[in-house]
């Protein structure tokens, strides 16, 4: 048996990319590519059109496909891309999957993965059969996304916001499914870990940056903060996953990471409550995206939090 499976999703920092829009609400492709080129040297993977940072819940199939194609181009095959395929119902999700798969063309399998939040449009019952059916639509691997908060915002009247552990145990047997992007309690994280333990190489990424900073998952983190401070997030992820081994001046290095971690936590506090608008406003102020526009209309002025973020980033730049 080969000890290295190249088709496994990467361990490490997965940037949860924001989707830049022009002032009139269209996809700002130029800003998107600029941001990707700036972030990509410091990450191990990228999530595009994601449900939270990427505002994917409001993006149609064509826009997601455009984001995917442009992101693949800008990433130049250096790190894999994860694309969110979920919609409000099964048929549409399958249709998105087929369209995106077609648009991806001959992109190598290890450079493109799908992410799906099943409970956004489907109940726990019959999920295994659902994914067996999905296996016939794509050759690429898929990561599950568990996010009770996102599910609670869907229009469906579903009893559960979390994938049931027993169901997950069935799902990890399906070859199509290669990992899980997880939001939720630490107790649930442990139960999921138990459910997945027999599938070697199965990835469980933290989608909650706070959980990762406290008790890092060895698969990595899907981070919106990586849009703002990719380099510090990269350093912290590398240390957390012990990818650097013993090749650093250990005590000094750890001291630096400790200080950097404090600043990254402070930065996170500044955008935690309304991440997308604040991050976008900060990126706009930094001149990286043309407009801070978000899909949901904003009641509050984001210039103050954005200013705070710029101050925190300045502190981080010293590392």
């Amino acid at each position: 048996m080969s000890r290295t499976d190249k088709t496994l999703p990467p361990r490490g920092l997965i940037a949860d990319l924001i989707t830049p829009f022009t002032a009139d609400g269209k996809l700002d492709a130029e800003s998107l590519e600029r941001l990707i080129r700036l972030v990509s040297p410091h990450i191990h993977g990228m999530l595009a059109a994601g449900p939270s940072a990427g505002e994917g819940y409001a993006l149609d199939c064509e826009t997601r496909a455009e984001i995917m194609v442009r992101a693949l181009e800008a990433l130049e095959g250096k790190v894999p891309l994860f694309v969110w395929i979920t919609t409000g119902n099964i048929e549409k999700t399958f249709s998105f999957l087929e369209t995106l798969d077609h648009a991806a063309g001959t992109t190598p399998r290890d450079l493109l993965y799908w992410i799906d939040t099943p409970l956004y449009y489907h109940s726990n019952r019959g999920l295994a059969a659902h994914y067996n059916e999905a296996s016939g639509l794509t050759q690429r691997r898929l990561l599950l996304h568990n996010d009770p908060e996102l599910v609670s915002r869907s229009n469906k009247l579903l009893k559960r916001g979390n994938i049931r552990t027993a169901i997950l145990k069935e799902l990890v047997q399906i070859d199509l499914i290669a990992g899980l992007v997880f939001s939720g309690s630490m107790d649930r994280a442990r139960n999921y870990q138990k459910a997945c333990r027999l599938r070697q190489g199965f990835r469980i990424y933290d989608h909650n940056e706070g959980n990762f900073l406290d008790f890092p998952s060895m698969s990595g983190v899907v981070s919106i903060g990586a849009n703002l401070a990719p380099k510090p997030w990269h350093a912290i992820t590398e240390t957390s996953l012990q990818r650097t081994g013993g090749d650093t001046a250990y005590p000094d290095f750890l001291h630096q990471i400790w200080k950097m971690g404090r600043h990254v936590r402070a930065l996170r506090e500044a955008y935690r409550d309304t991440p997308v608008p604040v991050v976008k406003a900060a990126l706009h102020k930094m001149g990286l995206i043309a407009s801070p526009r978000t899909i949901a209309p904003l009641d509050d002025d984001m210039s103050e939090p954005a200013k705070r973020i710029l101050g925190k980033i300045k502190e981080l730049e010293s590392y």
Binding site: R197, L198, P216, I236, G245
Partner: protein
């Protein structure tokens, strides 16, 4: 708050070990076989916290009958590699599998023909690629922020080290006495430092009969003294021989009317002896070497001073536990 954190940390670490229990398999079996069949020692190596874990595994292996030692990877580069021989098995502990100091010495160890077992959390690491056997000790989550200190991963490696040591005990049929032998700080250690004269049986407690005695009477002595044997002495109390249960079995198959036989016909001449000033450890060594349980204690003129039984050396209570378990007193490394 602190208690909550503590609970979380403990749950994460416990989970990391439970996960290993599910994954442990063929590679582990290969590692145990590799160590068991090697003619050399087990050499643990690791840097930092992994080094500390390596040292603990060394201590556990040594305590349980697997000769082992620790090699510091940085010192290895400066000459300590000389302690590694072709017959040894090197166990390298590194969660990342990318520890520069370890990866620097592995090619040299490999070129010597020494087998390498990796305890690593990364199956795609240089260490895993180089090793002959890779034991997966990956954990899903660390319990310390930002990897400032490895926590669950070192716990997992430590537990796997214990698993290796205990599995080797099973292979070697390592028993209670073997274990105590390697723990001289305990009561057995005290006992082993004593002289034979401090524990030997003397006077009426010594089973002995004169030459010329009939076997019928010798049997009575054997039964009365309950040591499963009797010494045979001449008129001057010099040792002439010994009659054990084995001698009795042999004579029963050879003679019809055994009770009327003189003891000289049955006894083993020149039995194993020891002097009263020798140590109890030496007495045990002789018993082990010749698979016997009773030694005669004699002086320079071969006059009998007493006897010592294995029970006297190990402590009666301990030995009874051993007998109940149906274990024999065996050498610690029967296959070496």
């Amino acid at each position: 708050m602190s208690v909550e954190t503590a609970r979380e940390v403990l749950k994460i670490e416990a989970q990391s070990i439970l996960d290993l229990a599910e994954r442990v398999g063929e590679e582990f079996e290969r590692a145990v076989s590799m160590i068991f069949s090697s003619k050399g020692r087990v050499i643990l190596t690791g840097m930092g916290k992994s080094g500390l874990i390596g040292r603990k595994i060394v201590a556990t292996l040594n305590s349980t009958g697997t000769p082992s030692l620790f090699l510091h990877p940085a010192e290895a580069i400066h000459g300590d590699l000389g302690m590694v021989t072709r017959d040894d098995v090197v166990v390298a502990v590194s969660n990342s599998g990318r520890t520069a100091e370890i990866n620097a010495i592995l090619p040299i160890i490999k070129s010597m023909g020494t087998k390498i077992i990796a305890l690593t959390g990364r199956l795609d690491s240089p260490l895993a690629e180089t090793a002959d056997v890779v034991i997966d000790v990956a954990v899903e989550r660390e319990a310390c922020p930002m990897g400032l200190a490895p926590t669950a991963s070192t716990t997992a490696a430590l537990a796997m080290g214990d698993a290796l040591a205990v599995a080797l005990i099973g292979r070697r049929h390592f028993n209670l006495e073997d274990f105590r032998r390697f723990h001289p700080g305990g009561s057995l250690g005290d006992r082993l430092r004593q002289k034979v004269k401090e524990v030997m049986r003397t006077g009426d407690r010594v089973p002995s009969v004169r030459t010329g005695t009939l076997l019928r009477d010798a049997l009575r002595t054997i039964n009365e003294k309950t040591l499963g044997a009797t010494l045979v002495v001449d008129w001057d109390s010099r040792l002439a021989g010994i009659i054990t249960d084995g001698d009795l079995r042999r004579c029963l198959s050879e003679y019809d009317r055994v009770h009327e036989l003189p003891v000289e016909k049955v006894m083993t001449r020149s039995p194993r002896t020891i002097t009263e000033d020798q140590s109890t450890a030496e007495a045990i060594g002789i018993m082990e070497l010749y698979s016997i349980t009773l030694l005669a204690i004699v002086d320079a003129q071969k006059k009998v001073k007493g006897v010592v039984h294995l029970h006297d050396l190990l402590g009666g209570e301990d030995f009874r536990v051993n007998e109940q378990n149906g274990q024999n007193f065996t050498t610690p490394w029967p296959d070496r």
